[in-house]
Symmetry: C2
């Protein structure tokens, strides 16, 4: 009815909790809600009043609590967001169930609609596409396990070590040779093949995460071409051109903007 502006994150949580409790035990009591959400009983009263005002719950003091039809619809929407995120985390990113649940709980309140739909599509796509599937996800898992020293799965290893590709895909450029980080243009991405050089400089580069297999992107090149800004594993770093030239890479694709 009223449709009065968006609910706050915590009101969505209350609605979600009521829905789940009602699904289990038919009706919800104030205590159940405070237990489930780990908040004080009196906070629940306040939330219920706010929800009742918006016509989302049937609530009278000392009475049982139920969702209205509208409230049920809103709750289902919140739960859809929650489950979509959780499923993505578990099925695609191989996050453990508890972390996925916690993360979904926080993110469900802020994720834009259009991004949510994409998450859902993506899970389906990964299951449907013959190039992906569960065995591909397993490859991702072992890729993640190998992260500290950047162990890669066998398929990727062959790439990293620079052997010729068995399957030259269209639209996907792979250059062999002795290209270094210093040769890249802005926006280009490459996988790291080898860090040459020795001693202090070599060690410093390794410490920055410059290990074989890692993906590096060129973010910015200073006017004089000298300090070059890279990004790898989410971190920004800046290298002198001389240092960059010590790092052999293989270009992943043509830079797009």
């Amino acid at each position: 009815m009223s449709e009065s502006l968006a609910l706050s994150a915590s009101l969505e949580d209350y609605l979600e909790a009521i829905f789940h409790i009602a699904a289990d035990k038919k009706v919800a009591r104030s205590k159940d809600i405070s237990n489930r959400l780990g908040v004080n009983n009196s906070s629940v009263t306040g939330a219920l009043r706010a929800l009742a005002e918006r016509g989302l719950v049937n609530y009278a003091p000392y009475d049982l609590i139920t969702l209205t039809d509208e409230g049920k619809a809103v709750a289902e929407d919140v739960i859809r967001r929650h489950e979509a995120l959780r499923d993505f985390f578990v099925r695609v990113l191989s996050i453990d169930a508890q972390t996925a649940e916690e993360g979904a709980c926080k993110m469900e309140h802020v994720i834009p609609q259009s991004i949510l739909e994409r998450f859902i599509e993506f899970v389906d796509f990964v299951e449907l596409c013959p190039r992906a599937g569960t065995d591909w996800i397993q490859k991702f898992e072992s890729f993640c396990k190998g992260v500290p020293d950047r162990q890669l799965c066998s398929e990727c290893i062959t790439l990293v070590e620079g052997k010729p590709e068995s399957k030259p895909d269209e639209g996907r450029e792979r250059q062999a040779g002795t290209i270094t980080l210093g040769d890249l243009k802005i926006g280009q991405r490459a996988r790291l093949v080898k860090v040459r050089g020795q001693g202090e400089v070599h060690k410093r580069l390794i410490d920055m995460g410059m290990v074989p297999g890692v993906v590096i992107a060129v973010e910015r090149i200073a006017p004089l071409g000298d300090p070059i800004d890279f990004k790898l594993r989410g971190y920004h770093l800046s290298l002198r051109k001389e240092e960059a030239k010590l790092v052999t890479v293989a270009v992943l694709e043509e830079g797009r903007v």
Copy 2:
């Protein structure tokens, strides 16, 4: 130094904004910040005071605003989260730049660390793995474009139409035949092949999103085996066993709990 507990979402935003402004113009003024964040000038004062209290900005009334080293470190961390999310949205989910930016802005404050790292790994993995790459992402894009009527990419089409797979992957079970939704067990997932039946029932199923190619999961089966709860495209729905038997599917994988 102080390290006093986590920053609120909005304080992180302020820090991020100051960092970006400082990167552009060397120093930041109160006005720049309020403009960038679209908040009232007085709110900026309050935020700056809070940040100065934590030792994250150098701030004195009427003076120029700069980040302390600690503040810079925190800002870089926030920006790393922001960019990791944005990059994932753009590079993997093919979200448009603006939506990605907005979504990242909201989600950066709540995403758990471990999930963030997975997002970053995943982007790298997609670029590195020979089974994925940019052309695979393009397939996802066209998959999404076809969503209303569930047009699939050519590779997937062959799957959906039940033709034998060209590449039988290990660990990936694909059953042909005339399995229906009614035959699935809890936790199993399947792609929809065809909806049989006619008239009202058929129409109702189509309206629920039961179109070829969609992924369906069995969520729950009532004690008597009759109403069966499914999930498709994030939505829960409940079908009578009779209705479920009208839907031909192909199982995607063995149910894992």
